[in-house]
């Protein structure tokens, strides 16, 4: 097929056509790579948290059967498998439930294939929405990142990190579109519903997304108050409050079920005190002394909490919280800073660490494995550059550039809150990676704007930049630098 671009077509249209062609090629390349890499994942047994997500999906599918069928609802099964220890919100399990409704004994290759297709569709939706809201070249950069081999291997796993990252992109693009509407005074209640649903979807997929979800909803509320006037302001604020209400309403059933099951207050996850104790506390005090040596780092305090709860009738969640505080009594600012930096190191070091797990039998160190590691690490360096751009760039060119910059800053800063409270690892970056990819596109756009002959920045009208966003970006960039310097100074 030959695509002929007539010289009569305006340059801008030609550029878009060229970008769309590149985008189509990249998406096709991703599809091919996905298919080629799938055999490395298909038979790999569920690892770690995946077991919990798949188990919860099994219980949820049974719950649906019980609700629509003749069998009584087994709430005990739901409590044991969906709430379990209260660590994981069931976003991934909900995603898997349709498959298990049709095939209750789905094999591992079937589950992994289903997840691969589901994340592929989600990626396509995210890319198309980026194209629609931010433009085709932003979509192209995101699609380039979609070729990171380790990311594609993760795409067939049941961890929620990668899926949360893709839904986060949708939340970001919808929020940028909503901020434009706020400025135009046309934000509608339905926009608020959509944003609330996307924000809560990200949270259900990764409870660690709570800071960013709250941050982005507050940003919407702030902009609704600040950027619109008169009657339009009332409409915008109402839509923002609807987003918050939807977010809270969908969170509530989980919080109530988890709190009732565990006999203590659970908002999103019980893993925060465990994470704090494991990351920053004295490991010999995590159970008011050492935990049982035959239990893992995570199981030990939970088993202990359950034993104390049995002896006292109190909540295991409360016991875990108190034990974590006890374990942290000797934490100093210096030790905390060192642990946070070590966490960042684990977060950013060895992005292809998990690749050792994904290979056909006997092929753990073949050329494909080495290529996965090499190309993941190379592309990851670019993503780190994109992440730095997200956090530090202050854009003043036009409203959409600014809105994206502010939204991306809140999103990434919210995600990077995790190393401050929880042990990090090579599994968490896929959530932040799409945001970092958009940061690369932002950086490219900012550099192109410096070229001689680049279009002049908008100065009037709805596309003109706003001071609020400039201030917010500058505050974020300064805070990031200050926190980073402070961590290094305190860590000595």
């Amino acid at each position: 097929m030959t695509i002929v671009v007539s010289p009569a077509i305006p340059t801008r249209v030609r550029r878009i056509a060229r970008a769309d062609l590149v985008l189509a090629v990249l998406l096709l390349a991703q599809l091919v790579l996905r298919v080629l890499l799938y055999p490395r994942v298909q038979d790999v047994h569920y690892i770690g948290d995946e077991k919990a997500y798949v188990d919860a999906a099994r219980a949820l599918s049974n719950l649906v059967r019980d609700v629509v069928g003749p069998t009584p609802v087994d709430l005990g099964e739901v409590r044991r498998n969906v709430v379990a220890s209260g660590w994981f919100m069931p976003g991934m399990s909900v995603l898997l439930t349709p498959l298990l409704l049709v095939e209750p004994h789905a094999s591992i290759p079937l589950v992994r294939g289903y997840l691969d297709v589901a994340t592929g569709v989600l990626f396509l939706l995210a890319v198309l929405d980026v194209r629609r809201v931010l433009g085709p070249w932003y979509a192209v950069v995101l699609a380039v990142f979609g070729l990171v081999p380790m990311w594609l291997l993760f795409a067939a796993t049941a961890y929620g990190d990668l899926t949360a990252g893709l839904v986060l992109v949708l939340l970001m693009t919808r929020l940028v579109a909503a901020l434009r509407r706020v400025r135009l005074g046309t934000l509608a209640p339905l926009n608020g519903v959509g944003l609330g649903l996307l924000a809560i979807a990200v949270l259900y997929l990764r409870p660690s997304a709570m800071p960013l979800a709250i941050g982005l909803l507050l940003l919407l509320l702030l902009c609704a108050v600040w950027l619109s006037r008169g009657r339009a302001r009332l409409r915008s604020v109402a839509a923002a409050l609807i987003a918050v209400a939807v977010f809270g309403a969908v969170l509530l059933p989980w919080s109530v079920l988890a709190s009732q099951t565990l006999g203590g207050r659970v908002l999103t996850t019980t893993s925060v005190p465990l994470g704090l104790g494991a990351t920053f506390g004295d490991r010999d005090k995590r159970c008011f002394g050492p935990c049982d040596p035959d239990a893992s780092l995570w199981y030990g305090p939970v088993r202990y909490g359950r034993e104390v709860a049995r002896a006292t009738g109190r909540s295991e969640v409360t016991v875990q919280q108190q034990a974590a505080r006890y374990a942290m009594q000797d934490v100093t600012t210096g030790s905390y800073a060192r642990d946070v930096l070590a966490d960042f190191d684990r977060y950013l070091h060895e992005p292809a660490h998990y690749s050792v797990a994904y290979h056909p039998p006997g092929k753990s160190d073949d050329s494909v494995q080495r290529a996965v590691v090499t190309w993941t690490e190379r592309m990851f360096r670019l993503l780190m550059l994109g992440g730095a751009a997200v956090l530090l760039l202050v854009r003043r060119r036009d409203f959409t550039d600014q809105a994206l910059s502010v939204v991306a800053k809140v999103a990434l800063a919210g995600l990077l809150f995790q190393p401050f409270v929880h042990v990090s690892g090579a599994r968490y970056w896929p959530t932040a990676a799409p945001v970092a990819a958009l940061g690369l596109a932002m950086l490219g756009s900012a550099l192109l704007a410096l070229r001689p002959g680049a279009a002049a920045p908008a100065r009037v009208g709805d596309a003109a930049p706003v001071r609020l966003f400039t201030v917010l970006q500058a505050c974020c960039a300064v805070t990031v630098v200050a926190v980073w310097v402070a961590l290094h100074v305190l860590a000595g």
Binding site: R58, R65, V308, R325
Partner: protein
């Protein structure tokens, strides 16, 4: 969108006829049988701890002695001392004045000396459920049950530090 909802409705409708999934429930640590109630390594005959507690470690420490660490909950050290003294004297032990390590010392002819040291934890968080520990120095106890759980360190707390 409408097609998606329709497909989902069909899936839900046929789901009861497709059988039932079998969750394994393996990602939740089970609560092991209470250590002393397991009777694997019991306390001397007739001794029952009458305060909320959990055994944290149990070990033979040589010279025919056993070191049992039990955390106490919800009550203060004075209450634990009183209830422990009561439990041991009710079981036929006699309080012996002048312990070596500052603890409570008891004796019973068929068992020998037993010493208990009550150690409240320092710097506890406000409203702490767990308050401290009792370290019991006892004669070694042979395994008291043939149950398989007596080989489970989660139950016996044997092989544990502290």
């Amino acid at each position: 969108m409408a097609v998606g909802v329709l497909v989902l409705a069909v899936i839900v409708a046929i789901s009861p006829s497709r059988g039932r999934a079998s969750p394994l429930g393996i990602y939740r640590p089970p609560v092991p049988t209470e250590t002393l109630a397991s009777k694997c390594f019991p306390l001397p005959d007739g001794v029952r701890l009458d305060f909320p507690h959990q055994v944290r470690s149990d070990a033979s420490v040589g010279h025919g002695r056993r070191r049992l660490v039990v955390q106490y909950d919800l009550v203060g050290a004075a209450t634990v001392v009183a209830r422990l003294t009561d439990a041991l004297t009710t079981a036929g032990f006699t309080a012996v004045p002048g312990s070596v390590g500052g603890g409570l010392r008891f004796d019973r002819g068929d068992v020998g000396p037993v010493e208990a040291t009550v150690e409240p934890y320092q710097h506890l968080p406000g409203g702490s459920i767990v308050r401290g520990q009792v370290v019991l120095d006892l004669p070694v106890t042979p395994v008291g049950s043939a149950s398989r759980q007596c080989a489970d360190p989660g139950v016996t707390k044997r092989g544990a530090g502290g």
